[in-house]
C-alpha cells in the first residue's frame, strides 16, 4: 500500500490540548517521510500498552498490536525476533513502562534488541484519571496520593544509560520538529532506541508553564561518551527546577540481540527427518 491515509476512521477521544496529538502527528509525519523515501509501510508495526497514549494504535492505520498495560515491550521484542525485516515501534506510557512493566524496558535495553520505544511521559496515569507515576515529582497529589507522594521520581534516562541502551533521547510534545528528528533517529538507529517524550496531559498534569521556560536543546558533544551523557542526563532529575535538556543524549552502535539469531525455516518433511535422526541417537 502506498500513499496511504495513515489515519483510521476511529473517533479520536484524547482531550483537547493533549500532547498525544503531537506525538501522533509527529509519528505520522515520520511515516510519511519514510514512505516517500521508499520504505514499505507494511513493514512497520506499532505496539502499544494500555493508557491514553495507547489509543494511538487505534488511530494510526498501520499494523498494530494493542497489547496490555505494561507489556508492550516484550511483545515488540517478540515481533522483531520473528521477523527482522519489520520495523517495530513501541508507544508506551510512563505508568506502563516505568511502573507496571519497568523490568521489560530495562531488559530490552540490556539486550539491545532493535526496536524503538517512545514513552508518552505525561508523568501521570491519564486513562485511570490521575494517579502519580514513577516520574511524577515528589509531593504530587494524585487520586492515590491525595496528601502528596512520599517518593522522588526515577530518572528514566539515567536508568536507560545504566541498562545498556544504545540510543537515549528526550523530546517534548511542544517541540515538534525536534521530536520528529529524535523519533526518526530512533527508528533509523540499529539497536534499542529510547525516546522519553515529555507529554502534556491537559487534564491531569499540565506542565506547559513549567516546561516551556526550562527546556533547551542539548549542545554538541560526542554522543558515544557515556561519561558526558551521564552528566547531561543527571542535570535534571525530573523533580528539581533545573534546566531540561532535550535531544539525543547518547548513541553507540553495537550488535543487536535479534541479528545474532540464525533463522532457518524447516518444512514438514525436513522436520520429520531431523526428528528421526535425533531419535536414532537415543537408541
Amino acid at each position: 500500500m502506498t500513499g496511504r491515509h495513515l489515519i483510521t476512521d476511529a473517533q479520536n477521544t484524547w482531550c483537547p490540548g493533549c500532547g498525544n496529538f503531537s506525538i501522533q502527528h509527529t509519528l505520522k509525519n515520520v511515516l510519511t517521510d519514510l514512505e516517500q523515501e521508499g520504505e514499505d509501510l507494511d513493514q512497520i508495526v506499532l505496539v502499544s500498552g494500555i493508557g491514553c497514549h495507547a489509543k494511538i494504535a487505534d488511530y494510526l492505520d498501520i499494523n498494530s498490536f494493542y497489547s496490555i498495560h505494561g507489556r508492550a515491550i516484550p511483545v515488540a521484542s517478540g515481533i522483531k525476533l520473528a521477523n527482522r525485516d519489520l520495523k517495530v515501534i513501541c508507544c508506551v506510557g510512563d505508568g506502563d513502562a516505568y511502573a507496571e512493566g519497568l523490568d521489560h524496558l530495562i531488559f530490552a535495553a540490556k539486550r539491545n534488541i532493535d526496536i524503538t520505544v517512545i514513552v508518552h511521559n505525561n508523568r501521570v496515569y491519564g486513562l485511570t484519571t490521575g494517579q502519580y507515576t514513577p516520574t511524577s515529582p515528589h509531593g504530587f497529589k494524585g487520586k492515590s496520593t491525595p496528601m502528596g507522594t512520599l517518593e522522588y521520581p526515577l530518572n528514566p534516562l539515567e536508568l536507560m544509560l545504566a541498562s545498556g541502551g544504545t540510543y537515549i533521547a528526550r523530546g517534548y510534545t511542544q517541540k515538534r520538529d525536534q521530536l520528529k528528528s529524535l523519533i526518526r533517529g530512533a527508528i533509523d538507529h540499529k539497536g534499542f532506541a529510547f525516546v522519553d517524550v515529555l507529554q502534556i496531559c491537559a487534564t491531569f498534569f499540565n506542565m506547559t508553564s513549567q516546561y516551556n521556560p526550562r527546556v533547551y536543546p542539548l549542545q554538541e558533544y560526542d554522543r558515544s561518551d557515556a561519561g558526558i551523557a551521564c552528566e547531561k542526563v543527571r542535570e535534571w532529575d525530573y523533580n528539581s527546577d533545573a534546566p531540561i535538556a532535550l535531544g539525543l543524549f547518547y548513541q553507540r552502535s553495537a550488535l543487536t540481540f535479534d541479528e545474532q539469531f540464525r533463522h532457518q525455516s524447516l518444512h514438514g518433511k525436513e522436520r520429520q527427518i531431523l526428528i528421526e535422526e535425533f531419535l536414532a541417537t537415543r537408541q
Binding site: 500500500m1 476512521d9 507494511d42 494493542y66 511483545v75 532457518q264 524447516l266 537408541q283
Partner: protein, 551 residues
C-alpha cells in the same frame, strides 16, 4: 512368564544417579526390553538422596513398580531407605568402600585407582558389576557405553570392566528381542512433538519440572532451526511469544504452576486477540513453591479457567511419552488453526521420566494448518464472515494492515464499546469452542483399557494412567482416561463409562479435580483415590489403595 525387571540406582545428589539410570535403561533397551525410568531427587544440588528406578519389560511400560530386582547402591542410604522395595531374590550391587550390606560389593576406589580414572567414573564400575550380575554380555555393555557415553567411553569401559569381572551372573536378564527403542524423557517427547507440529521458537524461564524442555530445545536449537529465548521472567515469556506469533512465528512456551500464574494475563490476551500459542505446563506438588521436584496433578481447574473473561482453549494431558509427542504436535496445529491458546498439561512424572519410544512407528498426526488470508478483499483481522475463524495475515504482508487488540474490538481490530459489536465478537470467539469440540471427534480423546463389562471402572488423567492401567489389569477392572480436557469429551467419556456400577477416580491431588470435572459433565464418581505427597502412585500402591476401598 512375562519378563519384567526393575533396577534401583541410588546415591547422593551429585553422584550422577541420572546418568547411571540412563545407562542401565540403555542396557535393558539393548537386550530388547521396553523401559521406563523414574527419577526422584530433592530440591538441592549436592548431597541428599537421589534415586532412579529403571523398569524393563517385554511389553510397553509407563510406570515404575515398588519392588525392585536389582539394587545398585552408591551409598548406604540406598540400602536403608529402600529396604521395603527388596524381595528375597533382589540382587544388591554396591560400593563396598562405603556400604556394608549382603550382596555383591565391589571397591569402587580400587577400580578407579587401578585404571587411574577420576572419581566421577565410579558409577561405571557399579554399572559393570550390575551388568555382570544380570548376565548382560560384555559386548552389549561395551556397545552401550560407546554409543551413549561417547566422551571417555574407553576409560569408563575399563572401569566398568573391573566391576564386571568381580561379579558373577546371579539372576540373568535375558535378551528378549533385537529391536532397540529410543529412550527419551517426557519433556523430550513434548519437544519433538512441538517441532513436528511446526515450532519455530521456544520461550521459557526455567522452572522445574519444565526446565529440561528449555535445556533440550536450547541445546538442539540449531539442529531443529528454532529460536530459543530465556527472558527476564514469565510475563516476558508469554508476551514475547505472542509477539512472535502475531508476526507469523509458531511459538511455544513452557513453565510450571507458579510461572503459569504470571502468564495468566497474557493468556487472556491471547484469547481476546485470537493469537495462537502453545503453553506447556508441567505440574509439581503445590501450592506455591511446594515440592518443586515432586509430582502432582493439582492445577487442572486453574488451567481450565485461568485468565479473566471467557475464551475457548484447548487443554490436553498426555499420559505417555508417545501421547506427549503426538498431542504436542496436535496442540501446535490446533492453536494455529483455531487461533486459540493450547495447553499441554504434564507433570513431573511424565516430564522427567524416561520412556521407550518406537522410532519407526511415530504417531501419525493429521494437520489442519492455519487459515490464511488469500490476499483478496480488504484485510480485516477479525472478519466475521461465517467461517470458523477469521483469516490470518502477518505484518509485513503486502496490502494487509494487521491490527490485533486486547480491548473489545470490531472486525478491523479497532477498539469498540458498542454493545452489538461486543456481543457479536464474543459469539464469534465462543463459536470456535463448538467447532473445536466437533473437530475433536476425529481424535482419540478418550483412552480405554480393560474389560468393557467390568462393574468397577477407574478413571484418571495424565501420567497416573500407568499405575491405573496396571492396577486395573491386576484387578480385572476397566481403566478410562480423557486425554483432552478442554473441550471436554463428554459424550465419548460417557460411552466409555457405560455400565459402570462403581466409578473410582484416581488422581494425584487432594480434592479430586477430575472427579469435579466429571460431575460438571454429569458423571458421578463413587470413590476417589487421592495421592498428594508428591510421590507418584505405583501399581502396587494403587492396588493396595483400591483394596482398602473395598475393590
Amino acid at each position: 512368564m512375562a519378563q519384567d525387571v526393575s533396577v534401583l540406582v541410588g546415591g547422593k545428589a551429585g553422584d550422577g544417579i541420572n546418568s547411571a539410570g540412563a545407562v542401565v535403561a540403555q542396557l535393558l533397551n539393548s537386550v530388547g526390553y521396553h523401559t521406563c525410568t523414574y527419577y526422584e531427587y530433592p530440591s538441592l544440588i549436592r548431597g541428599g538422596h537421589n534415586f532412579a528406578i529403571i523398569r524393563g519389560a517385554d511389553h510397553p511400560v509407563d510406570v515404575h513398580r515398588n519392588m525392585v530386582d536389582y539394587v545398585i547402591a552408591l551409598n548406604m542410604d540406598t540400602i536403608s531407605l529402600h529396604s521395603g522395595r527388596f524381595h528375597e531374590k533382589t540382587v544388591t550391587v554396591f560400593n563396598s568402600d562405603v556400604v556394608k550390606a549382603p550382596g555383591q560389593g565391589i571397591s569402587v576406589s580400587a577400580a578407579l585407582t587401578s585404571e587411574n580414572a577420576p572419581a566421577i567414573m565410579g558409577n561405571s564400575a557399579l554399572i559393570g558389576a550390575f551388568a555382570s550380575s544380570a548376565g548382560i554380555p560384555w559386548d552389549t555393555v561395551s556397545e552401550v557405553f560407546n554409543r551413549h557415553i561417547p566422551k571417555g567411553a574407553d576409560i569408563n569401559l575399563r572401569v566398568a570392566r573391573k566391576g564386571y569381572d568381580q561379579v558373577t551372573a546371579v539372576h540373568p536378564i535375558n535378551r528378549i528381542g533385537d529391536r532397540r527403542f529410543s529412550l527419551i524423557s517426557g519433556n523430550e517427547a513434548i519437544a519433538l512433538g512441538l517441532i513436528h507440529g511446526g515450532l519455530s521458537a521456544y520461550v521459557s524461564y526455567p522452572m522445574t519440572p519444565s526446565s529440561s524442555l528449555l535445556h533440550f530445545l536450547a541445546e538442539h536449537a540449531d539442529r531443529f532451526g528454532i529460536t530459543v529465548i530465556h527472558p527476564e521472567n514469565e510475563i516476558a515469556v508469554i508476551l514475547m511469544a505472542l509477539g512472535i506469533s502475531y508476526a507469523g512465528g509458531r511459538p511455544a512456551i513452557g513453565t510450571s504452576g507458579g510461572g503459569f500464574c504470571l502468564m495468566t494475563e497474557g493468556l487472556s490476551l491471547a484469547g481476546m486477540a485470537e493469537i495462537p500459542l502453545v503453553i506447556v505446563v508441567s505440574q509439581r506438588t503445590g501450592p506455591s513453591t511446594g515440592l518443586p521436584t515432586f509430582t502432582g496433578q493439582s492445577d487442572l481447574h486453574f488451567i481450565l479457567h485461568a485468565g479473566q473473561g471467557e475464551f475457548p482453549r484447548f487443554v490436553v494431558a498426555p499420559g505417555t511419552a508417545r501421547e506427549a509427542y503426538a498431542w504436542s504436535a496436535v496442540a501446535m496445529d490446533i492453536a494455529g488453526h483455531y487461533q486459540v491458546p493450547a495447553i499441554i498439561l504434564a507433570d513431573k512424572t511424565l516430564s522427567e521420566g524416561t520412556f521407550s519410544l518406537d522410532p519407526v512407528q511415530l504417531p501419525e498426526v493429521p494437520f489442519r494448518g492455519p487459515v490464511l488470508w488469500d490476499g483478496s478483499n480488504t484485510y480485516h483481522r477479525y472478519a466475521d464472515n461465517g467461517s470458523v475463524v477469521s483469516h490470518q495475515a502477518f505484518p509485513g504482508t503486502r496490502g494487509a494492515v494487521v491490527k490485533v487488540n486486547s480491548y473489545a474490538h470490531d472486525e478491523t481490530g479497532i477498539t469498540t464499546e458498542e454493545a452489538a459489536i461486543v456481543a457479536q465478537m464474543t459469539r464469534k470467539r465462543m463459536r470456535k469452542a463448538a467447532h473445536l469440540a466437533e473437530a475433536m471427534e476425529a481424535y482419540d480423546t478418550v483412552i480405554t483399557d480393560g474389560p468393557v463389562h467390568a462393574g468397577t471402572m477407574l478413571v484418571c488423567w495424565g501420567s497416573v494412567q500407568g499405575a491405573c492401567t496396571e492396577a486395573a489389569h491386576e484387578l480385572g477392572l476397566r481403566a478410562v482416561r480423557p486425554v483432552v480436557l478442554s473441550p471436554f469429551p463428554e459424550i465419548r467419556l460417557k460411552q466409555a463409562l457405560e455400565g459402570a456400577r462403581r466409578l473410582i477416580s484416581v488422581e494425584e491431588n487432594a480434592t479430586g479435580q477430575l472427579a469435579a470435572l466429571l460431575r460438571l459433565h454429569g458423571i458421578t464418581v463413587d470413590t476417589m483415590v487421592l495421592q498428594y505427597d508428591g510421590r507418584p502412585l505405583t501399581p502396587e500402591m494403587l492396588v493396595e489403595r483400591l483394596k482398602e476401598a473395598g475393590v
